[in-house]
Symmetry: none
Subunit: 224 residues, 2 copies
DNA sequence: GACATGTGCGTCAAATCGGCGGAAAAATGC
DNA sequence: GCATTTTTCCGCCGATTTGACGCACATGTC
């Protein structure tokens, strides 16, 4: 998952780079506004824009990006600049951070913004949307590559449970508790059977997600 | 909730002390860098470090603390010192305040930082982040230099246990108790085997941490 | 330097786990 | 009531993980 970092200060790139890589993101480093605008043609998940940059400022870059996309944007601003209003109302940035900042905080904000924007895409209620896959608990339907997939209630519920928290591992007990109910008496391995069927029905070749088994722990829905 | 205040100026202690106590915090007063480093072994929730102190400066203290913990840090700096860059990016401090300040402002910042760091911990749950390494119990994933490392449950749990308290030594018995459970019957040397495997998987060349053996005691996760 | 003890590491067997096919049991629809 | 669908359970097998052992080497002590 690529994060564009646009700042003319090398130190910022180094500091954020360490934390971003540690979290599994791939930082894309540019040092001026022009390069930032070029870079967003790649598959960037989010961009961090410094306001003060040589050439085109972060504000210009932000406006430029907003003309064509809803790409999440976090602005960096020097202490004291009066930008909150601008950012919130005119630019359409998703968050802003005042320098000096701690890299940890920035990464936390990035995660928060990504989470928010993803939730937005997913709509409000029960419909989860991923690349080539949507899961709607309201109508109990699952579609894969646009085509409807016939799933049984349990299959949908399990899938929804897993997919509603991508990355998080659920143990068989947790799934039994939350899908079947706390008082389910049966075998934990019943879960396996359902996972088997879900996998059989959802060919995820080339789409960016999968249902993974964590040996000795449980299952999780994972995004690449 | 203890707040460490490290400053060589008695007046600062008095002023902050009043406001901190009024807000229900318990100030811990030290007057030089050395004492500050000693004090963080207590259960401190946040520390306020003056940069100019006799002996070891606030900057040194901050670096020292960051080697072993993610403890929230607020730096105090005399007007005009160029610290924004240092504080935000190199040191890993969470905020800084320029003297002269109003005690009320300091307390407000303390609250803000505590809120942020608390949110972070709740949001990320179990994710530990170090230079080039992250350990997430929630998704049972370990990443090294951004790339995922396949670890078994025991390996992740041990690593997480060690890394969640950098610098602290764990005996084999402690690890068995806390990772396996109090009723584990096997050999203590089983731990060695797992440490061996973790080390084999985590090439830590050049990153600032390592798993060290304390002869006759146990193991610890250490930051340089 | 000799000794006792602790540790690193290769190796291996046992225990555990998960995928899968199949079939019984339960729920549902007609 | 009967057929169909859905859910649950069982058991086998291969794969993975785990714990134990043994030996060489390291460390601390006297």
């Amino acid at each position: 998952m690529k994060i564009l970092v646009a700042d003319d200060d090398q130190v910022v790139h180094e500091a954020l780079g360490i934390y971003l890589r540690a979290e599994g993101y791939e930082p894309v480093d540019v040092y001026d506004g022009e390069a930032a605008i070029q870079a967003v043609n790649q598959e960037i998940a989010l961009c961090v824009l410094d306001i003060m940059m040589p050439g085109r400022s972060g504000i210009e870059v932000c406006k430029e990006i907003r003309k064509t996309s809803q790409l999440p944007i976090i602005m960096l601003t020097a202490k004291g600049e009066e930008v909150d209003r601008i950012v919130g109302l005119e630019l359409g940035a998703d968050d802003y951070i005042v320098k000096p900042f701690s890299p940890r905080e920035v990464v936390a904000r990035i995660k928060a913004v990504l989470r928010r924007t993803q939730e937005q895409q997913e709509g409000d209620g029960s419909a989860l949307v991923f690349n080539g896959l949507s899961i709607d608990l309201k109508s109990y339907t699952v579609t894969l590559r646009g085509e409807s997939v016939i799933c049984t209630p349990k299959e949908i519920e399990i899938l929804h449970m897993l997919a509603s928290n991508p990355g998080q591992v659920f143990t068989r007990e947790q799934l039994l508790n939350r899908v079947w109910g706390y008082d389910f008496a049966g075998e934990t391995r019943t879960v396996d059977t359902h996972i088997k069927r879900i996998r059989a029905k959802l060919d995820n070749e080339g789409l960016g997600w999968s249902i993974k088994t964590i040996y000795g722990v449980g299952y999780k829905f994972e995004l690449d």
